[in-house]
């Protein structure tokens, strides 16, 4: 066992992936000498060279577009988008090309491209540095969408993502980059498309991913004082969704709260709520409630504590599902 921060765990995972396959390439803005603005690619260029760890020009569409070309030539690019709010110049390449080209070729083309995106708020940043754009990508057929929440998962998930032949949007919870945990560098992780029950409980199911898993675990601990035993599921994969774990849990608990940082309206939680309602209708004691950002753009940092779901807002939602 090794103690690693989440950022370092991804770094170690990338290192393993690059050692395992010479076709794996890391590319993005400042990923080389600087090691990325969050240092996630720290030291990789020094050890693997400038041909495999590429400091790119400052243009996101160019990063994804050329990564597609490299993948067509047999490479496995791992692209870093520096911040969530900067992914949109690349949205066209991701949505119209990366997601659809394999289908266009009737399977002749595989695009094993991983797009790493540090996401979410809570770090006191300026505009465009705190967003949660996952729903744009879960809505796009052809993409797989992953969100890691802790160092051990981050370490295996990034390696599995690189090994996967499909394009993957890989969300990293930026405010958890410095969270530390024990990581077994030799242990295999869960399969890439599996959810994990991170806390067992009998009374209510909390569904979360990325940065909100930690928040939900804290809320579950607090809820215990009220005599409520919350189960917490870390989805890990948003597309595809591991509905088996979710339905098994909600059918048992009869209550479900979905938590994410992104705005609730048309957010990924809407998909979860609809599916849980459909699959667990006869077991539900209350409607599925959602906790998330407001229908406003992400606020200036002095306001973000009001915007971001926290322990109290999750507890409030738990109270409300018990009030039915």
């Amino acid at each position: 066992m090794t103690t690693l921060t989440l950022g370092k765990a991804i770094n170690e995972g990338l290192r393993r992936a690059m050692e395992a396959d010479a076709k794996v390439i890391v590319m993005g803005e400042d990923v080389g000498k600087l090691g990325g603005v969050f240092r996630v690619t720290d030291g990789l260029q020094k050890d693997f060279g400038e041909d495999r760890v590429i400091d790119t020009p400052l243009a996101e569409s160019g990063i994804i577009g050329t990564a597609i070309g490299l993948a067509l030539r047999g490479y496995r690019p791992v692209c870093e988008i520096q911040f969530d709010g900067f992914v949109f110049p690349a949205a066209d390449q991701i949505i119209t090309q990366l997601a659809k080209m394999p289908l266009r070729s009737l399977g002749a083309i595989k695009l094993p491209v991983v797009v790493r995106i540090p996401c979410g708020g809570g770090i006191g940043a300026v505009e465009h540095h705190s967003e949660s754009p996952e729903a744009y990508f879960t809505h796009t057929a052809g993409l797989r969408v992953m969100a890691c929440s802790n160092p051990a998962d981050a370490y295996t998930m990034i390696q599995d993502a690189v090994r996967c032949d499909d394009p993957i949007i890989f969300f990293e919870p930026k405010r958890r980059y410095w969270d530390k945990a024990e990581v077994d560098l030799a242990a295999p992780g869960l399969p890439l498309d599996k959810a994990r029950t991170v806390r067992q409980g009998a009374d209510v199911t909390l569904l979360a991913y990325g940065p909100m898993v930690k928040t939900c675990l804290a809320a579950a601990t607090a809820a215990e004082e009220d005599g409520r035993n919350a189960e917490v599921i870390d989805l890990r994969s948003l597309n595809p969704l591991d509905m088996g774990v979710i339905t098994e849990s909600v059918r048992r608990t009869g209550r479900c709260v979905v938590v994410h940082e992104a705005p609730v309206f048309s957010g990924f939680g809407a998909e979860l709520a609809a599916r849980v309602s459909e699959h667990c209708f006869y077991n539900l004691e209350a409607p599925v409630l959602r906790v998330g950002g407001f229908s406003t753009p992400y606020p200036p940092s002095r306001l973000e504590e009001h915007y971001l779901p926290d322990l109290d807002r999750v507890l409030d939602a738990i109270d409300r599902v018990f009030a039915y």
């Binding site: 070309g69 067509l72 394999p102 289908l103 070729s105 009737l106 797989r144």
Partner: protein, 367 residues
Amino acid sequence: MTAEAPRGADAPPELIQLLTPEGERVEHPDYDIDLTAEEVRSLYRDLVLVRRVDLEAVALQRQGELGLWASLLGQEAAQVGSGRALTDADMAFPTYREHGVAWCRDVDPVKLLGMFRGVNHGGWDPYEHNFHLYTIVIGSQTLHAVGYAMGIQRDGAEAAAIVYFGDGATSQGDVNESFIWASVFNAPVVFFCQNNQWAISEPLEKQTRIPLYKRASGFGFPGIRVDGNDVFACLAVTRKALADARSGQGPTLIEAFTYRMGAHTTSDDPTRYRVAGELEAWKLKDPIERVKAYLFKNQLADQEFFDKVDAEADALGKDVRRRCLELPDPGPEALFDHVYGAPHALVDEEREQYLAYLAGFETGAER
């Protein structure tokens, strides 16, 4: 508001030309080319056959057999000239109009028609022909070509990528980003811009104040303008640019100055935005007629040869038509195929449910 002509726009830029519209051979100090009579006849045959397939496709669309067709009429020389400059190891990235390049890469024309008929979104294996799928979003493929070229660099391979795009595409961010990438990484890529003067209804001056080939200098690599209706010149210039790319000298922008003699696509009506006289003027520069004149004048081909090519073209047209009409419609299960390479629970579930739903109609079972 009409902008005044920018400085320098009045001086006509150099146009590399090796064969005049009248079929006269012209020498050029940098881009001369030696072609045997057989090679010229072969280029002529390509041009005629490609035009014939294109005409057949337009007819099929008019008869309701294709949803759409983007005609290459007038651009045959640009496409065949550049297409015949490629080696097997080179990789071509087309738009949706590169039927002539597809021909040079041995892609069955029926596969192109299948896409416009709606049986799939592409459907040929890009690796089998080193001819990428048609890209519909304007300019996206330029970045793919540059990335691919960066892969060639890393492989240490003796190859280049060529990417096709139009005059309208030069306004796209992706095209400009691809120029930057290619330049900074010295990627072995040839940018082949067919300036056919029109982006649907918008004339060239809506896209640029300077000749397009001059854009390259700002990005730090050579740009050159070639007579896009001259198959010899297109072949020579592209050959040189590809050789430069393969030998580590980086990218070149080729502007093939040509004309879209037909509509943008079969959904378009060019009479709304351009005058008939323009088309008449360009007809005098037809890419096929000048090669025919050259062959005739120099007694490199006789009437029997031309008749034979025409007969071959008619047979090809008929064959393409027949096989297009015979293309089977995909079954409903094809909706779900190839969306992902690895199994995907949601798509698998939807496939199963939808096929069961359809089966309910067949068996008449209660749902």
